[in-house]
């Protein structure tokens, strides 16, 4: 998904879930920051590098694809953008090598979505003590929303999972009913996608299992990120069974699940249950939301912003990456964790730690090793020590 959904639509969802304007802005800021919190950004702030939630183009271009490099990539992309659906999925007559990759395929409503929401609740309650509870909420909304858009792809470089071929058709609705046309992919980072002609940019075909080009939905270009599009294609892992991706329907579900999740995080619902959607809460705005979701445009920021302003009764500020950097840089060393960005970094490390631990516990080493701090004492990367302190403090409280 892109800024239109992660920022403006997330604001709308937060307001519908009952958050106020300021909280809504902080939540959508945190959701969008998940696409910007790279090691480059963290390095500039002298912040813990382990809090990286994404890798920028230049970082990916130089990323190592040896064992440790792949684990680093997987920790970031599987934790925040391609949450695995079933870490214990069975694949008949398969090797462990294949199964481990297959088990990282992202889909909505996996058990890790519930774990993400439960963790976000814990983190937001811990942060609320010093008025910083919204960062974990925003981050969780990013992860949840991406499980819908990125469904069918894995957050690890893999040709056998993430590849697509020429069997790729866009389904168009018109006055004469539905028609289809083959999607024409090109590899031109500078040329914008052209939905009118059906020409889209994707990553180039690389016959290499671990090539960066085979990370996530790169081979399907940005199609999964567009709410208007409907298409059918052959996923590499699907044994020649076609997938029909109906983004307007799935984005609607994503939006309603975000509202439901935030009702849970606000304490209005006692337990987060998978497969539940706050459709009744959203219904008064359904017509307008469907109109935005189905409009053929590659950037829906304007429409979502208008809806957000209608809900807020005031203008919404645009996303500004530098908004909170001054506060973080100006804070004393022992006060950084209590700043807006400091709380976001803690939430990010907690999410990464949780997902890595779940993957490791399933017997899969693609995201690396995980050590339980509470059982075995601190043995991990120094950055995570501050997370341990937070949990210890919470335990004492």
């Amino acid at each position: 998904m892109q800024k239109d959904f992660h920022y403006y639509a997330t604001y709308c969802a937060a307001r519908l879930a009952g958050y106020g304007h300021e909280e809504g802005m902080e939540i959508c800021y945190s959701a969008q920051l998940t696409d910007w919190c790279s090691r480059t950004f963290l390095g500039r702030l002298r912040a813990p590098k382990a809090a990286a939630t994404t890798q920028l183009q230049l970082e990916l271009a130089d990323a190592r694809t040896d064992l440790l490099g792949l684990q680093d990539i997987t920790r970031i992309w599987a934790s925040f953008h391609f949450l695995p659906y079933d870490l214990y999925a069975k694949v008949e007559r398969s090797t462990r090598l294949y199964r481990n990759k297959y088990r990282l395929i992202c889909k909505p409503n996996g058990i890790l979505v519930k774990d993400t929401l439960d963790l976000a609740k814990k983190m937001s309650e811990a942060g609320a003590a010093h008025g910083r509870g919204t960062q974990a909420v925003g981050l969780a909304m990013h992860v949840l929303a991406d499980t819908w858009a990125h469904s069918g792809f894995a957050g690890t470089p893999s040709l056998v999972i993430n590849n697509t071929n020429t069997w790729f058709y866009e389904i168009l609705s018109g006055p004469d009913g539905e028609t289809e046309r083959p999607v024409r992919f090109r590899h031109s980072p500078s040329a914008p996608d052209d939905p009118k002609k059906g020409i889209y940019t994707n990553s180039i075909y690389q016959w290499d299992e671990n090539s960066i080009m085979n990370l996530g939905h790169g081979r399907a270009g940005h199609l999964p990120d567009y709410s208007f599009i409907r298409y059918r294609y052959l996923p590499a892992w699907g044994e020649y069974d076609e997938i029909l991706k109906d983004n307007p329907k799935e984005y609607w579900r994503a939006f309603c699940q975000m509202v439901y999740a935030m009702l849970f995080l606000r304490g209005k619902i006692p337990e987060f249950e998978l497969g539940h959607y706050a459709e009744e809460t959203v219904r008064p705005w359904a017509e307008e939301i469907h109109r935005i979701l189905e409009k053929r445009q590659t950037d829906a920021c304007g429409d979502w912003k208008t809806l957000g302003e209608k809900l807020a009764g005031q203008a919404l500020e645009d996303f500004d990456l530098e908004k909170y950097t001054g506060e973080y840089l100006g804070a004393k060393e022992d006060g950084k964790d209590a700043t807006f960005l400091g709380s976001f970094f803690l939430a990010a490390m907690a999410q990464k730690s949780m997902v890595t631990e779940r993957i490791f516990r399933s017997g899969n080493l693609l995201a690396g090793f995980s050590v339980d701090f509470t059982q075995k004492g601190f043995r991990g990367i120094g950055d995570f020590r501050r997370l341990l302190k937070l949990f210890e403090k919470e335990g004492q409280g």
Binding site: Q57, K101, L159, V160, N165
Partner: protein, 180 residues
């Protein structure tokens, strides 16, 4: 190009330079050494493709390509090993054939990249065409003149040229599609 790809390409370039030096320094023995190296490389690559197929790609749509590629390349490698005791001119012709074949592959890849509007196609096409021209030129020259020393020099210069192009590609800016 990722860091790992850059390392692999640099190693490939160094291999080309080493091959050229061996051929010029050792003449006929040099040919045999290069042929053995090529044969082992092809067999290892073929085996790797077969292992990839049986462990992973057999579940993948279009994954059978790994099986076919593995068998064909392994076969080429095994065949190359069987001609190491032949006369130098046969070995040279085989190496030139392999060189020309890699040129054709480069051209096909470049045309595919062009179809996808990828910026890298020009360098690949140039490399492919020049490899092909080098190979055909050296074969004709070698057969007509029948001088192994000249043939060796042409072949070695082709290897050096190919190595230089590989090094250039390592330092080229690479653009990739960013996935948010």
């Amino acid at each position: 190009m990722s860091f790992t790809q850059r390392v692999r390409t640099v190693l490939g370039a160094l291999g080309s330079f080493l091959g050229a030096v061996l051929m010029v320094a050792l003449e006929e023995e040099g040919y045999i050494l290069v042929l053995i190296f090529l044969s082992v490389s092809l067999m290892l690559y073929g085996l790797r493709e077969l292992i990839f197929y049986f462990t992973m790609a057999r579940h993948m749509v279009d994954g059978r390509a790994a099986l076919y590629m593995g068998i064909i390349v392994l076969d080429f490698g095994a065949f190359a090993m069987t001609i190491t005791d032949q006369a130098g001119v046969f070995i040279a012709l085989y190496l030139l054939g392999a060189y020309a074949f890699s040129g054709v592959i480069d051209i096909l890849r470049a045309l595919e990249a062009k179809k996808q509007e990828a910026g890298s196609w020009r360098l690949n096409l140039t490399e492919g065409i020049l490899n092909l021209v080098f190979a055909i030129g050296a074969a004709v020259f070698g057969l007509l003149i029948g001088d192994m020393q000249d043939l060796t020099l042409i072949y070695a210069s082709g290897l050096v040229y190919s190595g230089i192009l590989k090094l250039i590609s390592v330092f080229r800016k690479s653009a990739i599609v960013y996935i948010p």
